[in-house]
Symmetry: C2
Subunit: 365 residues, 2 copies
DNA sequence: CTTGGCACTCTCGGCCCTCGAGTGCTAATA
DNA sequence: TATTAGCACTCGAGGGCCGAGAGTGCCAAG
């Protein structure tokens, strides 16, 4: 049986009210709020049909109705009115975006943190960059025992490493190493670097001190890092403000699950979000057992370099889909605008320097 | 009144048992477990004195005893036997350490994650590095529109930035910029870089395109970043496995507090942990209102370069202090061994290359 | 000083009851 | 045929009551 117009209105009202209050919704409430001119008895009849159609259910005989996952599905796909964010909200979001993204240190984790703070649900962000290669090596000679490897990558990031040597090395050797690596180790993928090619390079520069190996392993390391998906999870604690996680055991289970970036990285559903769209996974839609009682909303954005980034939010099935979708959509669009658009410089920056950078200093022995 | 030997034993038994079970401890339990040959009636007398001395309290008249913060204090300072970690545990910890720290990407967050997973409490890690300066600039000319800035810092990390120019620049200009910056902007702190000095440099190289400003702002940026304390919080969700956080409101409050690195960074108590010691802050010892019901255990370790790092753990006052102290101590010692010891290379590595590195690539427009 | 004994206190869990929200059904009505 | 008012029914939440059990404090005897 198809949904009559009135059934749709009633279903929408039930879902909206349940999202608001987290309590089963009764016929009387709907008669009052939904504003269709009929009595609660009529609504009751409709409700019980919606139950038998599988869109609603009753926790027990004398309780109100609660949406089923199918009910949410219909709501999300057809009934929900696209929430128009108020001007203030849009402003606020843009302000946060500007503030957070001015220091573009780590887009992934910033996008995640932003989504979490705007939606008040735990958020995650993923970026799986396209395979990168090294475009060019530079070896900077510091002193007889020290040099720096600088590698410029095909995606225009730069990586470096400081090498201290227990033995002395001449500037000429550094020179030779540099040209051999530029000749043989640029524009190739990780798997093309083999012990064989390394031995060959070693012989070519007459290296008896293992320098070739050091540079090669640095190359391997940054190549494999460059293709690893970056993930971040932010604001997991926000789960606790949701009444459905009043039970600490439940809360703990889900929080532990989503707090582990490995889990997120391995979610298959994450990898088929199409283009600009927003994807909503409701309860059992989720593949992971731990998420079967929760919902996930995902939005993708253009990171430039043919990369798409993904931001998402996790919450109870009783999630405020329309607000979340609106906010994620806004963030995704804003990010696409800022980062995307191929290699053309973003408007308004034409006469400024365009900079890609690599930062962060660490130690290693 | 001083604590008699027997009172000490009884107090220790109460605290230990309460830590184990999270339930008030009765006189009978102690008579049986503590193994001092006297009856529960005797213990009762002693217990009530311990109550009037302020080391124990009763939730209600007919319940067992629970330690007060002062009780924990005495326990931690005098009564607790230093837990000897079993061989397996030590092995396990060392194994994790080796695995996690082999990729020394980010010591701070790795140390935090490690402490959390070993103790099963939320953990935090902080490192406030000593002020660093730039030792040397290298500008790598890529093409007429592109160059890379490489800055080697006094703490032997290397930072870099890729600069795209909307105009063409000759290799000679890059050359000149490099020598001016090496002459005027090395070995100085951030505040010594002023608009004035930048203007001077600009004139010196005859720069009309703002290149000087770009390099100078990069210098400012990395100098200020280098002196910012790095912080990380890991495993906040572990709080939920503690019975004292069965109440979601409490759990949420504390989790939100500790999940925010800014809060952690600003904890004053964090900054006066002396040398090798382990510091235990019990309930009201904490300055932050949010931590008054919880305890914090802190251990510091030597990161080399005269820097001390800090790892800590947050939990209910009913924390297993002796296990936590033992584990944090072990981690701190292991880290000190690996990272510390001034600039002398760690033993066993003498004939290997010693490497300090800087990695991580990012974008900026 | 210690200890067995005993009365007392307080919490916890189970049980019962009432209250109220909400339903489903029926019969009357438009 | 669709709607509605009315009414009996169901079920859970909350409150009060009670008994069991754990633990205490005190007393008098060893």
């Amino acid at each position: 049986m198809a949904l009559t117009e009135r059934k749709k209105k009633i279903l929408a009202a039930v879902v909206a009210e349940y999202i608001r209050t987290a309590e089963p919704v009764g016929s009387k409430t709907i008669a009052q709020t939904a504003g269709l001119g009929c009595s609660s008895a009529t609504i009751r009849n409709e409700l019980s049909e919606l139950v038998s159609m599988g869109y609603l259910e009753q926790p027990h005989t004398s309780a109100g109705r609660v949406p089923t996952p199918q009910g949410y599905r219909i709501y999300v796909n057809e009934l929900m009115q696209r929430q128009r964010l108020s001007l203030e909200e849009t402003e606020a979001i843009n302000a946060s975006l500007n503030e957070r993204l001015s220091q573009l240190d780590d887009i992934v984790s910033n996008a995640g943190a932003l989504a979490a703070s705007l939606t008040n649900y735990p958020a995650m962000a993923i970026a799986a960059p396209p395979p990168a290669t090294i475009k060019r090596f530079d070896l900077i000679y510091i002193d007889a025992n020290t040099f720096i490897i600088v590698a410029m990558m095909s995606n225009d990031t730069v990586r470096n490493k400081l090498v201290h040597l227990p033995v002395s090395v001449g500037q000429d050797m550094i020179q030779r190493l540099s040209s051999v690596f530029n000749a043989n180790f640029t524009n190739i993928t990780e798997e093309r670097i083999s012990p064989l090619t390394i031995r060959a390079a070693e012989r070519a520069v007459d290296d008896t001190m293992g320098l070739t190996g050091v540079i090669a392993s640095f190359a391997i390391e940054i190549l494999s890092e460059a293709q690893a998906a970056e993930t971040c999870v932010a604001g997991a604690n926000r789960l606790l403000s949701q009444p459905e996680f009043r039970d600490p055991a439940k809360a703990h289970a889900l929080m532990s699950y989503i707090s582990d970036a490995e889990h997120i990285k391995n979610l298959p559903e994450v990898y088929d979000v199409d283009g600009e769209g927003i994807k909503v996974l409701i309860g059992p839609d989720n593949v992971a057992e731990e998420l079967k009682d929760s919902s996930v909303v995902l939005a993708s954005y253009d990171m430039g370099d043919d990369t798409r980034g993904l931001i998402g939010v996790v919450g109870p099935t009783r999630m405020d889909y329309s607000a979340v979708a609106a906010k994620l959509g806004l963030i995704a669009r804003a990010l696409s605008e800022r980062l995307g658009g191929g290699s053309a410089p973003p408007k308004g920056l034409d006469n400024k320097l365009i900079i890609k950078e690599d930062t962060n200093g660490q130690h290693e022995q």
